[in-house]
Structure formats: structure tokens, C-alpha cells
């Protein structure tokens, strides 16, 4: 399986995204912002479409759109209340609608588009893997550096605010991290399934974890395991890798749910 270059590259990309997505997703889930990954995915889709239309690498325009969209969503969300919620919906739907219009304009309703929607891990190039590795390492490093600050906010937001923790800055950092993750995970699982890889491993870990730190560590382990196992299964069973990876993560959730129930939690 690993004798071919494209499979080695695929495994490398899957491993990095498998760790990064749940590591960032952990904070989104704890902050009850699970759906932000989906929202950013919608905006990233518009970025892909813009790239196709402008003949610029779509991965790049998707990254730019995701970061801008992520920050916009965070700024709208932080205003709070019903207005904030509706503003979020506005960004989500504008993103996807803009994507559809731009793609049609570019005459690109074809297989190329599918690879961004559902991933195309078997066609990632060395250059893309290098980019995923560099940005992925930066993302994981940022998570490690900001862990304590995020943890303080998760545990007790009001107390953190009084202690002088810059919550607004942290929230924007989290939105940028989520946006970079979405852009990096796009070739692996596609914009439609990105959020699943950010949320499902965290939900699974939550069923069996015994502390906050163990939840984060188990999330990344389950994410990594799902990515590698899903890719392996897809190779031997000739299934689409993105869907298989997410189904494995969903399976992991069901298994941990049963384990947690058996332990009487």
C-alpha cells in the first residue's frame, strides 16, 4: 500500500490533518462553536470558486477566504444575541451562494469541483503535503502555546475576563486556527466533511476521558486513528477516502459511547 508515492503522500496529509482538526475542534466544541467549522467551510467553498474563476490556485484562495470568513464570523458572533446568530447565517449562506454563482460563471461544474467538495487525498502533490506539514505544524504549535489560555476561558469565562485574559484576541485566534484547519483539511476530506473531523473525534473522546487534557489528547489520537484507518480501508475496499475517514470517526464515537455507558457514566 505504501509502495506508491501517492499513497505515502496521502497518509502524510491524512496524519497531519487527523491530528490538527480535532486539536482545533476541541476548543470549538468546548466553546460550543462546533458549527463554525461548517460555516468556514461554506466560505472556503466561495474561495475555491473564486480561484477557479480567476485562475489562481484554489487552495490559496480558499485559505484566504476561510481566514477572512472565520474572522468575520467571530466578529459577528461576539456581538451575541439573535442578531449575531442571524449574522452568522448570513455569512454561511452568502458563502455557499457566492460559490455556486462563481463556479457557474467559471463553467466549472465538473469533477474538479467535486475534489474540493469531497476531498481528493489521492491526488495531493508533494508541494501540497509540504504546505500542509508547515501550516499544520504551526497550527498544532499554536494550540500547544495557547492551551492554558483557552483552558482558562473554557473553565470559567467570567473569571478569566476578570483575570485580564484577552478573550477577544483568543477568540479571533481560534477562528483563524479553525480557518487554516478547514483550508488544510479540504484536500483530505473536502469542505463538506471538514467539520466532521473537527467535531466527531472530540465527541468520541468526551465519552471516555477523565480530564480536560485527556479529552484533548484522546481527541487527537482518535482523529489520527480515524484518518489512517479510514484511508487504509478505502484503499483495500476501493471506497472514497473522505467519506470512509469520517465514517470511521463516527464509528469511533459509537464505540466510545458504548464504552462510556458500560463504565456507568
Amino acid at each position: 500500500m505504501l509502495t506508491t508515492e501517492f499513497m505515502r503522500l496521502a497518509f502524510a496529509a491524512a496524519a497531519i490533518v487527523g491530528v490538527l482538526a480535532p486539536a482545533v475542534g476541541f476548543f470549538l466544541v468546548q466553546r460550543r462553536q462546533s458549527l463554525i467549522g461548517d460555516g468556514i467551510g461554506h466560505v472556503a467553498f466561495a474561495g475555491v470558486a473564486a480561484g477557479i474563476l480567476l485562475d489562481v490556485p484554489p487552495a490559496l484562495t480558499a485559505l484566504v477566504a476561510a481566514v477572512l470568513g472565520g474572522v468575520a464570523i467571530e466578529l459577528l458572533r461576539s456581538r451575541g444575541g439573535a442578531a449575531g446568530d442571524q449574522a452568522l447565517a448570513l455569512v454561511f449562506y452568502t458563502g455557499i451562494a457566492l460559490g455556486v454563482v462563481l463556479v457557474a460563471k467559471a463553467g466549472a461544474f465538473n469533477a474538479d469541483l467535486f475534489q474540493y467538495l469531497f476531498g481528493s487525498i489521492l491526488t495531493v502533490t508533494r508541494g501540497e503535503v509540504a504546505l500542509i506539514a508547515v501550516l499544520g505544524a504551526a497550527g498544532i504549535g499554536t494550540v500547544a502555546l495557547l492551551y492554558r489560555a483557552f483552558a482558562a476561558v473554557i473553565v470559567d469565562e467570567e473569571g478569566a475576563r476578570v483575570a485580564g485574559v484577552p478573550i477577544g484576541t483568543l477568540n479571533v485566534s481560534l477562528a483563524v486556527l479553525a480557518a487554516v484547519t478547514v483550508a488544510l483539511a479540504m484536500p483530505v476530506v473536502g469542505v463538506l466533511l471538514v467539520a466532521a473531523l473537527m467535531v466527531l473525534p472530540v465527541s468520541a473522546a468526551g465519552q471516555i476521558a477523565w480530564s480536560m487534557r485527556s479529552t484533548l489528547v484522546l481527541s487527537t489520537a482518535i482523529g489520527l486513528g480515524s484518518a489512517l484507518l479510514g484511508l487504509t480501508i478505502s484503499y483495500y475496499a476501493d471506497l472514497p477516502p473522505s467519506g470512509t475517514i469520517v465514517l470511521v470517526a463516527a464509528g469511533a464515537y459509537l464505540v466510545t459511547l458504548a464504552l462510556g455507558a458500560a463504565r456507568g457514566r
Binding site: 473554557i154 476578570v162 480530564s211
Partner: protein, 241 residues
């Protein structure tokens, strides 16, 4: 005596035209142990939030260690136990993890806990008597123990000012007694400035030097012993609302 808190002509409303507080003047010296009482809805919690800079007064000024409270960035740590604190997020944060969060301050945005941080955390946990359950998820403990966990978190910050809003809500009498003793020790040994908000005092009353009654404005400020007898009856306070 240097001032920890200084409120001048403070008025506040959550909506335009609303007055939760008005004409509030309050000076709190460093090292004082102040109790704040008053009827529910009388503005006690709002007053705390203004003191800590979580809300800005609509009129007047609020200073915290001499700086405007809403942008206080001074070197003095603040400990705050909000009313009905509970652990955020879904992850099962342990007592130690929750208390460790109290070691986090803005000046150290990045980085890890040092050995010193860990021992301060362990001391705070021991002070509130939770050492035996330090690695148990906080939310699986009883209400009283959870409250003690949050008090340990506030202590771990080694605060110059400790604000506790209704810390004994839902806590049994024994825990109330031990909390009162703990606060008296902190005040006596470390000279921590303490603001204790409650609509009932019980165990704490013999330790506080000064009592402030809040009903939209400050209606009494003095020693608990000088409190006119009628005010000891909460019914009186409500009757005038």
C-alpha cells in the same frame, strides 16, 4: 490607607432609562473585609461587576487600585467567584485543572505551568480541603465541593482583591462555616482585601468589619454592630422596594 476600590457617583442601567444603581459612592481600603448585603434585585451583583470592570458605569467613575476598572491591567491579581459558578465546556475538567486556570494571568498569555505554579495550585486545593479529590472531574462533586473548587481557583491567583458573589448559595451549613473560617484566615494571614456579597450572612458575620447595604444605592455603610435593628429583618428591606 491606599484604596483597592473607589466608586464615585456611580449610576448604572442595563437599558437606557433603567436605574439598577444610582449615586453610589464607595471607598474600599486595601486589606478591608467588606460584606455587601441587600435584597435580591437590589444591585449587589451589578455593583461587583462594576467594581471588577466587567461593566462600565453609565455615570460616575470606578477605579480599581487607582486605575479605571474597565481597563484595569495592573499587576495586582483579582480573584472572582461569580454567583453560581459552574465549569464551562463539556470536557471533564478536574479540580486541579480548574484551580490551575486560576494561575493564568494576562501577562503570561503563552507557556506552561511552572513548578512554583503547581505547588501554589496544590496549596490552594489543600486549603479548601479538596486534596483527596484533586484529580476528579469537578462537576461530579457536590455543590458545596464545586464551590470550594472555585474558591481554590480564586485563591490560586494569589489575589490582592477577592470578590465572592453569594458563595454559600446551595452550600450546607458545615461548608458555610468552613468557608467563613477560610476567608477569615486569608484575611488575617495574608491581608487579602475581601468583598463578600450575600443576602444572608450567618457564619461570616462575626469576621467582617464593615457592612454595606445596597438597595439601588448604598443605604447603610458601617460596622455590622451599628446596623439599626430593623435592618436585620430581611422583610424590612423588601417591604420598601
Amino acid at each position: 490607607m491606599p484604596l483597592a476600590v473607589e466608586l464615585r457617583g456611580v449610576a448604572f442601567g442595563y437599558r437606557p432609562g433603567q436605574r439598577v444603581l444610582e449615586d453610589v459612592d464607595l471607598e474600599l481600603g486595601e486589606g478591608e473585609f467588606l460584606a455587601v448585603a441587600g435584597p435580591n434585585g437590589g444591585g449587589k451583583t451589578t455593583l461587583m461587576r462594576i467594581m471588577l470592570g466587567l461593566e462600565r458605569p453609565s455615570e460616575g467613575s470606578a477605579l480599581l487600585f487607582g486605575e479605571p476598572a474597565h481597563r484595569y491591567a495592573g499587576g495586582r491579581a483579582l480573584g472572582y467567584l461569580a454567583q453560581r459558578s459552574s465549569v464551562g465546556g463539556d470536557a471533564p475538567a478536574t479540580v486541579r485543572e480548574v484551580v490551575s486556570a486560576g494561575r493564568f494571568a494576562s501577562r503570561r498569555l503563552l507557556g506552561r505551568l511552572t513548578g512554583e505554579d503547581r505547588s501554589i495550585v496544590a496549596d490552594a486545593i489543600e486549603r479548601v480541603g479538596l486534596s483527596a479529590v484533586a484529580d476528579t472531574p469537578l462537576r461530579t462533586l457536590s455543590g458545596g465541593m464545586q464551590q470550594r473548587g472555585f474558591i481554590a481557583k480564586a485563591l490560586a491567583a494569589q489575589p490582592a482583591l477577592l470578590v465572592l458573589d453569594e458563595p454559600t448559595t446551595g452550600v450546607d451549613a458545615e461548608s458555610q462555616e468552613s468557608l467563613a473560617q477560610l476567608l477569615a484566615d486569608l484575611h488575617g494571614e495574608l491581608g487579602v482585601t475581601i468583598v463578600y456579597v450575600s443576602h444572608e450572612f450567618g457564619a461570616i458575620e462575626r469576621f467582617v468589619q464593615r457592612l454595606v447595604l445596597v438597595r439601588r444605592t448604598i443605604v447603610f455603610d458601617g460596622s455590622p454592630h451599628d446596623l439599626p435593628g430593623v435592618w436585620h429583618d430581611p422583610g424590612h428591606v423588601h417591604a420598601h422596594d
